[in-house]
Symmetry: C2
Subunit: 213 residues, 2 copies
DNA sequence: CCTACCGATCGGTAGG
DNA sequence: CCTACCGATCGGTAGG
């Protein structure tokens, strides 16, 4: 017949496309991710690439899914075994910093979610909805972890978990910019200082005291 | 000869192009800002649009310049008359929030600088350099204002001005996302709460005290 | 400032 | 999974 591959081979090809797609989209955005570029990079035809998805939008959604899976693997899962509450929150924070600092192979252009959020925040459609869903999910998880930390007495009783999660999001966008736009080596340490203030374990302080400058 | 216009008319046309360019780029990004789209929107020919700039890159730089001028007018200038230090810092913060909340005519897709930063942070070239220069300039101004506030005794003596300016940047990116992606009405108030904590006037507090919840 | 054009690339389809 | 194609749009140029 034709050079049609087995189901397993086709799945593996689809994986390769999506992995490459994450890297391209990290640099060029999900709109800048083009079928022609993918085809060239992978030594395939455009029709061969598109055949796995049907439309560019489906390709974008698959790329976002793969990126979210990587993020879970690098940020959420390593913290899973930490004690719920402040210890796990701290573990998530560190994994998040490491993800932004070192996941350059997977995300050579920086955090794909920040890129996608900016790119789609003024549009409608399934991609925008998927991006918003991810940010909401992650904020909910962070806020939940803050809530546990408060209940455990690790954070002040009047802490607003949503507020803390919101501010954490800002710190990570700042860190992403600092790494990508300025290649600033002190950025992770700045982020840690800000997080220490945000997640200060107790109210009996006149300043932070648990980390040296 | 031809429908060539006077110098003043040509300048006015250029202004119209650049103003429209800011609005388009706010939604589509500086790469998504196309000459054809501008021409259609303005009822001109593509060559007529491009003639004012020569290349797309020059158009992008002119668009960024115009956006920076608007930003100065809306954020820096209103605070100019406030007392240097914490009062001026607070005035800048409020103007900044207002800018993100209400400048929808000029920036229908949200803060163009955040968009441009994300879009160009993985590329080289004059546009990237111009974006980086703007962010550096504004951070320097913020840090300078923090320094004045510390010298005036309005902020604790161990305040790190660069750190505060860095965190403020993160808060504004978070606010931009919250407005654009989530249309969250409580976002400005969240930002104010975070800024109050960041710019807490004195260390003799167990928690923030100058704003009611 | 226009018309008329260029080669390149876009997303996508037909047919195998 | 391929070749071969489609109409639309991209940035840019020639010439007036």
């Amino acid at each position: 017949m034709s050079p049609r591959k087995s189901v397993a081979e086709a799945r593996r090809t689809r994986e390769r496309i999506v992995e490459r797609g994450v890297a391209i989209a990290s640099v060029e955005g999900l709109e800048g991710l083009t079928i022609g570029r993918l085809a060239t990079d992978l030594g395939m035809s455009k029709a061969g690439v598109l055949g796995h998805f049907g439309t560019k939008q489906t390709l974008q959604l698959a790329t976002l899914d793969e990126a979210a899976a990587v993020f879970s693997r690098l940020v959420w899962e390593p913290a899973r075994d930490a004690q719920p509450g402040l210890p796990r929150l701290r573990a998530i924070c560190e994994a998040w910093i490491t993800y932004l600092e070192t996941a350059r192979d997977t995300f050579p252009g920086g955090c794909l979610f920040t890129t996608a959020s900016i790119e789609f925040d003024a549009r409608d459609g399934l991609v925008r909805d998927a991006v918003a869903r991810l940010f909401r999910l992650w904020r909910r998880r962070l806020a939940g972890e803050v809530r546990v930390a408060v209940a455990a007495g690790d954070l002040p009783g009047d802490t607003d978990p949503e507020q803390v999660a919101y501010e954490m999001g800002g710190l990570y966008m700042a860190l992403n910019q600092e790494i990508q736009l300025f290649a600033a080596p002190e950025a992770p340490e700045r982020t840690r200082r800000a997080l220490d203030r945000l997640l200060a374990p107790r109210q009996d302080r006149q300043d932070r005291q648990d980390r040296p400058a």
